[in-house]
């Protein structure tokens, strides 16, 4: 459907110069409302996303406020050094990529599974109920989530140490000082909190699939599983790829709330909870150096940008239709 309109438009554009100017004006007039509707968003995008890009020069400067931003000294890549110079650099980069990579895969798989299951529920009331329950965690602030987590994990009053572990005959665990548990805890919390939103998007895509496919498949004797594999998944593939590409673009950013608030900023578990964002935050709280923070931000977005380009290129080589651009 969309392909057809695109082709029409292309044809129109190609034939433009040959036609009279009159039709061109007509077209413009017809499109004018759309342009006006686009205007606020465009202005917002320019002011909010493009104008601040001049600030990127801050990453390469030794900012002195007496001199002003433009007149401050250029120092090349010195602001970036701290991101790579220590053993921590390896730890935080590893944590960031592994966590986010894991989140992308697990969240996508789980969200699609839940979306398919939700779609199978025929009772409208039940469907609405389940959907709200699954979406709810997404709407809760991370600070509150961190205290929900604390209620479970707190050393002397937590639900796990107080009730569940004794019930199973296990020893108490001091959760906030044992680094080895945190990859699982953080992944679990992220899934619990994140899939609701993803699931709504996939559900919308699934609802949009033409029911005739399923009817035809049922007539041919395909069972539910076969239908899911051969109809549902391929049909929502473009959405999956788009969501994944967008997530890959942010793979070097991490959910600050998740990695800072949920572990309660407990030092003993930094090995598995420190990511680029929290490292930069903790290190620069004391220095307050905007050059170094700008450098970290630039590094994250450049790497994210390259990753999006590469993965989009790979997708395009496999199937042109599914690529983002």
């Amino acid at each position: 459907m969309s392909e057809v309109t695109v082709k029409n438009l292309q044809a129109d554009v190609q034939s433009l110069p040959v036609r009279k100017v009159n039709t061109r004006l007509m077209k413009l007039k017809r499109a004018l409302p759309l342009f006006i509707m686009m205007l606020p968003g465009l202005i917002y995008l320019l002011i909010n996303n493009y104008l601040p890009m001049f600030g990127l020069i801050i990453a390469f400067k030794d900012i002195n406020f007496a001199k002003g931003i433009l007149a401050s000294d250029w120092i090349g890549f010195k602001n970036f050094e701290y991101l790579f110079s220590t053993r921590d650099a390896f730890v935080i980069t590893r944590n960031t990529i592994l966590y986010n990579g894991g989140f992308i895969i697990l969240n996508t798989v789980l969200a699609i599974a839940v979306a398919i299951m939700l779609n199978e529920i025929k009772n409208k009331l039940a469907k609405g109920f389940y959907q709200s329950v699954i979406l709810m965690p997404f709407l809760i602030s991370m600070v509150i989530v961190s205290y929900l987590g604390y209620a479970f994990l707190s050393e002397d009053t937590g639900y796990l140490n107080h009730t569940i572990l004794p019930l199973l005959g296990l020893d108490e665990v001091s959760w906030y000082s044992e680094a080895k548990y945190w990859p699982y805890i953080l992944t679990f919390i992220n899934m619990w909190k994140g899939i609701g939103f993803l699931c709504v998007i996939y559900l919308a895509a699934i609802i949009g699939i033409d029911q005739e496919f399923y009817e035809a498949a049922t007539l041919d004797g395909a069972n539910k599983w076969k239908q899911i594999i051969h109809i549902t998944i391929p049909s929502i593939m473009p959405v999956i790829i788009m969501m994944t590409l967008l997530a890959i673009g942010r793979i070097f950013y991490s959910d600050f709330g998740l990695f800072y608030q949920v572990p309660m900023n407990s030092g003993a578990i930094y090995d598995t909870t420190n990511v680029i964002d929290t490292y930069v935050y903790r290190g620069l709280m004391q220095l307050g150096d905007i050059g170094m923070s700008a450098a970290a931000g630039l590094y994250q977005s450049v790497v994210g940008f390259i990753l999006v380009l590469v993965s989009n290129y790979l997708v395009r080589r496999k199937s042109k239709d599914n690529a983002l651009f």
Binding site: K78, T86, D88, S177, Y270, M285, Q286, D289
Partner: protein
């Protein structure tokens, strides 16, 4: 469709116009106040914004307009947002003429980054009273690279390590606080509490996320605590605190206390202050820096009588002196007026008390020449001017003392200041910008280990060597070398 678009356009225009009149009115205000009397915008932190702020401001302006032809505008900012907001103000060149700055809010780096104006000439020209009131050593303590960027307020300039305990329990178990002088003495007190009061953790952290050695210390932190001066002297040789025997001993003791149940079990996740924990009946004591009048101050915080025991001599260090200072931001257009006003805060009793307590008869009443109290029907909860920042208002020795505190408080404080040991490095401010890469990395390592080690949660046998190794890998030695270099240069200028 067309109708819809026109409606959208109208909404859009409304949005645009809704923003603009606001700006107009604010510029009006500015030009109105610009009737030849410069208006000093004074930014400070506070717990709340008093509702009678404007009334007090007007009263102050009457006074200052007559005396020095300056008006002021008070801009209190909640202390929780203070660092962020003032950093934004400084970075965006907002109109601020006088700002409360502090070592723990990054004063040295603000000065090094050129956000504050050098004040030497201004103080010479307009600050005669500042010079008269302030001890020269204390005034010099705020110098960064030989230049004065802020003026400390006159208050308690030293502090002693100490422990703050619940008075009712101290009396119940006949503990003689005068005999508590060392950590071993503290240990026996805590054990008494542990044995008799099962539900009350004997010693709780003073502040969430704060190293106990910030308060209980035997060394000059030299600013950031990365590279310290043991015994406040050490012949000006900077050492790595975490490698010293004293530190190893301290963390071993804390480990012992933790194992014996004398300390809070999960300090890493604690988010409450010691005072709040005591108030909620889940703490008997916490470490606290001591100064005259601190017992009654902490009693207010915990809402139960507190008593303190001193664990060390009063010492004054650069870090302590520079916790409360006034600076003039680079963006100020009227630095002379700001300095004139600042000077008046060190000299004029009426002004200091207006700023500290508000208007007589409305916000406070005199009991005697030095003591004040709330007027009839006014208390801490409904007082219209509850800034409570008297220690920041220039010469706080000029302010009245609130009823209930010792009437000789300022005299005692003065004596306390005079009796304090001055650190050998008092006046040295470390500029960490040459080693900022290392400081970032080391800060992360310090955050990772110190809370656990100094509260006995981590075992020093295995964790302390790991900690030291990671510090070295992160570049601790380079920071110490840089600090030593700067300290040596500073020492040369002191002779």
């Amino acid at each position: 469709m067309r109708k819809l678009i026109s409606i959208m356009l109208v909404v859009f225009l409304l949005l645009i116009s809704a923003c603009s009149p606001k700006q107009e009115s604010s510029t009006n205000e500015n030009s109105e106040s610009g009737d030849d009397v410069p208006e000093v915008n004074m930014v400070l932190f506070s717990g709340s914004v008093p509702k009678d702020l404007k009334i007090v401001e007007d009263e102050i302006n009457k006074l200052t307009k007559e005396k020095i032809n300056v008006k002021i505008k008070l801009t209190p900012i909640n202390i929780g947002n203070y660092v962020q907001q003032t950093n934004l103000m400084l970075s965006s060149n907002e109109k601020v003429d006088l700002m409360l700055v502090a070592s723990f809010f990054g004063y040295t780096s603000q000065a090094a980054k050129g956000q504050l104006l050098p004040l030497d000439d201004l103080v010479d020209k307009y600050g005669s009273d500042i010079k008269k009131v302030m001890d020269k050593d204390y005034l010099n303590a705020s110098k960064v690279a030989g230049k004065l960027y802020a003026v400390p307020t006159q208050r308690d300039m030293a502090s002693a390590s100490g422990i703050m305990m619940r008075k009712d329990l101290v009396e119940k178990y006949n503990i003689d606080v005068n005999k508590v002088k060392t950590l071993d003495d503290v240990e026996s007190v805590l054990k008494t509490i542990k044995d008799n009061e099962k539900d009350i953790p004997p010693l709780v952290p003073s502040n969430p996320g704060q190293q106990p050695t910030m308060i209980y210390n035997w060394f000059d932190r030299l600013g950031d605590g990365l590279g310290v001066l043991p015994k406040y002297d050490n012949k000006l040789k900077v050492v790595n605190l975490y490698e010293t025997d004293e530190y190893a001993e301290f963390v071993k003791k804390m480990r012992k206390w933790q194992n014996e149940g004398l300390l809070m079990k999960n300090p890493g996740t604690n988010t409450e202050t010691g005072a709040n924990l005591v108030k909620s009946n889940v703490g008997f004591s916490y470490l606290s820096p001591l100064k005259p009048g601190v017992d009654s101050q902490e009693s207010k915080n915990t809402q139960m009588p507190m008593v303190s025991a001193s664990l060390g001599e009063p010492v004054s260090t650069t870090f302590g002196v520079t916790t409360m200072m006034w600076g003039i931001p680079q963006s100020s257009k009227i630095p002379e007026a700001a300095m004139k006003f600042l000077n008046l805060m060190y000299q004029d009793k009426e002004l200091v008390n207006l700023l500290s307590w508000g208007i007589e008869g409305k916000h406070y009443e005199k009991v005697s020449e030095t003591l004040v109290k709330y007027p009839e029907g006014v208390d801490a909860t409904n007082n219209g001017y509850n800034l409570n920042m008297n220690f920041a208002m220039g010469n706080s020795f000029l302010s009245y003392i609130f009823e209930g505190d010792d009437p000789t408080l300022w005299h005692q404080t003065d004596e306390f200041n005079k009796s304090a040991i001055k650190s050998k490095a008092l006046g040295f401010n470390f500029d960490s910008s040459p080693v900022k890469t290392e400081v970032t990395a080391v800060t992360n390592v310090v955050n990772k280990y110190t809370i656990g080690l100094e509260n006995g949660v981590l075992d020093p046998e295995t964790e302390l060597p790991k900690f030291i190794k990671e510090l070295k890998a992160a570049g601790m030695d380079k920071i110490i070398a840089e600090k030593q270099k700067q300290l040596d240069e500073w020492a040369k200028t002191q002779k």
